[in-house]
């Protein structure tokens, strides 16, 4: 079956005057129809920029250098801006971290959902039906964003994203700004949408356990690289990349109450001055000389792709 999303060898760079910096390098991931794929990683690891590349909404100073992004088999990087407009909202749509600032404060939420409807007929009826789907009352249509709670605002965003029945929904930390119970409601709603509409979800989060419980596949990102792409079921039992291992080691639920939680020492390097070799070698306990000299290429182990010299060197530098 045709994959909903397929990203291969994506490279994105930022231009700052005449200088150019690598933002994303060698991103390879895919999502099958009706599958949820999670992207995890620290802030600044490139999760959102990967998502923005799929929507072709990268900030002005960022550009895709190389690679392919296929949405339902169509190469979106080759599309014109006006073709892309028909993809956005219809084939792929997106929801964001802080729904309050991502809704226009001056218009009723209903009108903002309704204007996303692509086909001219029965726009209002469609909107009303979608409000039911996301479990909002009909009269919310006439309310303004500031009159709604964070959870309701996110539901409006989901209604807006789902109104044209897209194949892919990108959810960029949709629950980070919400309290735990509300967040849980949003995650359940996304699941319900997947079951009802056969939707694929690219779920961006920095919560490892949320990612594992929601998604079938997990991609771990570090400094603009996808260091591990693996089945969600297996990743806790046998994490391959040292970074993934460390991340799992940090999960609070693995510790007894009152005991000290371990962290990954150090911080993500600035993308303007990435170290040579593997970007993780500064924080890696398994570092060998090779790590400081070359970047590890992808190695396939079972169903997991990992970029680390621990699992051999295929000679590829990327």
């Amino acid at each position: 079956m045709e994959k909903t999303l397929e990203i291969s060898n994506l490279e994105v760079s930022a231009r700052d005057g005449k200088k150019s910096f690598a933002i994303l390098r060698g991103i390879n991931l895919c999502a099958e129809p009706n599958q949820a794929v999670a992207l995890v990683g620290e802030s600044g690891s490139g999760k959102t920029m990967t998502a923005m590349s799929v929507m072709r909404l990268l900030p002005r100073n960022l550009a895709v250098d190389r690679g392919r992004i296929l949405l339902r088999g169509e190469d979106i990087l080759a599309m014109s801006e006006s073709q892309m407009r028909h993809i956005r909202g219809k084939v792929a749509s997106m929801i964001f971290q802080e729904p309050s600032s991502y809704l226009n404060p001056l218009f009723t939420v209903g009108s903002q959902v309704m204007e996303a409807v692509k086909n001219g007929e029965e726009r209002f009826e469609k909107t009303m039906k979608m409000f039911e789907d996301v479990e909002l009352e009909r009269n919310v249509y006439f309310q303004y964003p500031h009159q709604l709670s964070g959870g309701m605002q996110q539901r409006v965003m989901i209604a807006m994203a789902m109104i044209n029945n897209p194949a892919l929904l990108i959810a960029d930390e949709p629950t980070t700004a919400l309290d735990v119970t509300t967040a849980n409601g949003i995650v359940l709603l996304l699941r319900k949408m997947m079951d009802k509409y056969g939707l694929s979800v690219l779920f961006i989060t920095h919560d490892m356990s949320l990612a594992a419980s929601f998604a079938e596949k997990i991609g771990v990102m570090y400094a603009g690289r996808l260091v591990e792409f693996s089945d969600a079921a297996g990743i806790f039992k046998s994490p391959l990349h040292p970074y993934t291992e460390k991340l799992i080691d940090c999960l609070p639920e693995r510790y007894a109450p009152g005991s000290r939680i371990r962290t990954v020492e150090g911080s993500v390097p600035d993308f303007r001055q990435l170290p040579g070799g593997c970007p993780f070698h500064l924080r890696c306990p398994y570092k060998i000389t090779l790590c400081t000299q070359r970047k590890p290429g992808p190695t396939l182990i079972g169903t997991t792709t990992v970029r680390c010299f621990k699992y051999g060197d295929d000679g590829q530098d990327s």
Binding site: M55, R85, M94, F96, N104, P105, E115, A161
Partner: protein, 321 residues
């Protein structure tokens, strides 16, 4: 909403009272009065001057004078001008109309030019169109309006394309209504342009910045992510958000209608209130000054009220109480 407007209109009265009282006292603090100059004239006896002072009530304490002025104001009598010996309302009547038409015309020109240019410049941010417009705006801001007015008058005098000074042409007595209006507008064009040219620059920059800020907002990303066209993103989502801060500025603009035009009026010989008020202040023509301050204050308060109501209508987050 109705209740709010009524409340604000009631607040209007004490505000205006306070404002006029303070300005009345400040004018009286200046040494001497209108008749001090007359006493320099050896042909007028001190006795005559004393009796004139008494006639106008200037021999009484300032507070009592103010109360008299208020009492007359309640009967819509703005008092008598010392220097022209006619009622102030008669003096102001015609000139107020000219000043208002000049100001409103130039405000209209300013906004009609600055808003679209600001949007255009924001959309073309950083490109040559934007840089050209920004440079022109700097030049416009740097040149004072009276200089622009002088240059325009010079241009009009050299080419004869436009009348220099006044509001009507001499041959115009038998003209029909429409012809009269066209003639008036022709006279209005130069001073109006002079006044507008200096205002466009700063308003343009404000509008450009507001629009850029709106374009950088997260809700614009949402609008793009749902596949809306550029026109809808610009003119529905960005424009409405960019225009809201301008409404407050519009309220203040109304208040500067009287004072802002004075210099240009004098340079282009437009028979407005500018020269009248300036002369009145210099010669301490008390009631004439008070009348102009009263009109200015009323415009300021009404302008702000209008801006508040417009903002409440435009922004659902603003609730009037």
């Amino acid at each position: 909403m109705k209740k709010y407007i009524l409340k604000r209109l009631l607040q209007f009265i004490p505000l205006l009272l306070g404002m006029t009282f303070i300005s009345f006292m400040i004018i009286q603090m200046a040494p001497g009065d209108y008749f001090t100059q007359l006493s320099m004239n050896p042909e007028i006896s001190p006795l005559t001057i004393e009796s004139m002072r008494r006639d106008f009530g200037l021999d009484k304490p300032a507070v009592i004078q103010y109360l008299y002025w208020l009492k007359n104001l309640a009967r819509l009598n703005l008092g008598q001008s010392f220097s022209y010996h006619v009622p102030v309302s008669f003096l102001i009547g015609q000139k107020l109309r000219n000043t208002l038409s000049l100001s409103i015309f130039s405000i209209f020109l300013t906004w009609a030019a600055a808003i679209p240019l600001g949007i255009f410049s924001a959309v073309k941010d950083g490109r040559w169109q934007d840089r050209t417009l920004s440079l022109l705006a700097y030049i416009g801001i740097s040149i004072p309006s009276f200089l622009t007015a002088m240059l325009l008058v010079f241009f009009a005098a050299r080419t004869g394309a436009f009348p220099v000074g006044g509001t009507i042409s001499v041959f115009n007595i038998s003209a029909t209504g429409w012809e009269k209006f066209a003639d008036y507008m022709k006279h209005l064009l130069l001073p109006g342009l002079a006044l507008a040219l200096s205002g466009i620059g700063s308003l343009f920059r404000l509008m450009k910045n507001n629009f850029l800020e709106a374009l950088g907002s997260p809700y614009i990303t949402t609008a793009r992510a749902k596949g809306l066209g550029e026109a809808r993103i610009y003119f529905r989502h960005a424009l409405r958000n960019a225009v809201n801060p301008m409404i407050t500025i519009f309220g203040y603009t109304l208040s500067s209608v009287l004072s802002g035009a004075a210099l240009v009026e004098i340079v282009t010989n437009w028979p407005g209130m500018g020269r009248l008020i300036l002369d009145a202040v210099l010669s301490q023509d008390l009631y004439l000054v008070m009348a102009s301050l009263l009109i200015g204050g009323a415009l300021l308060i009404l302008g702000n009220l209008a801006a508040d109501i417009m903002i409440a209508a435009a922004d659902p987050r603003v609730r009037l109480r």
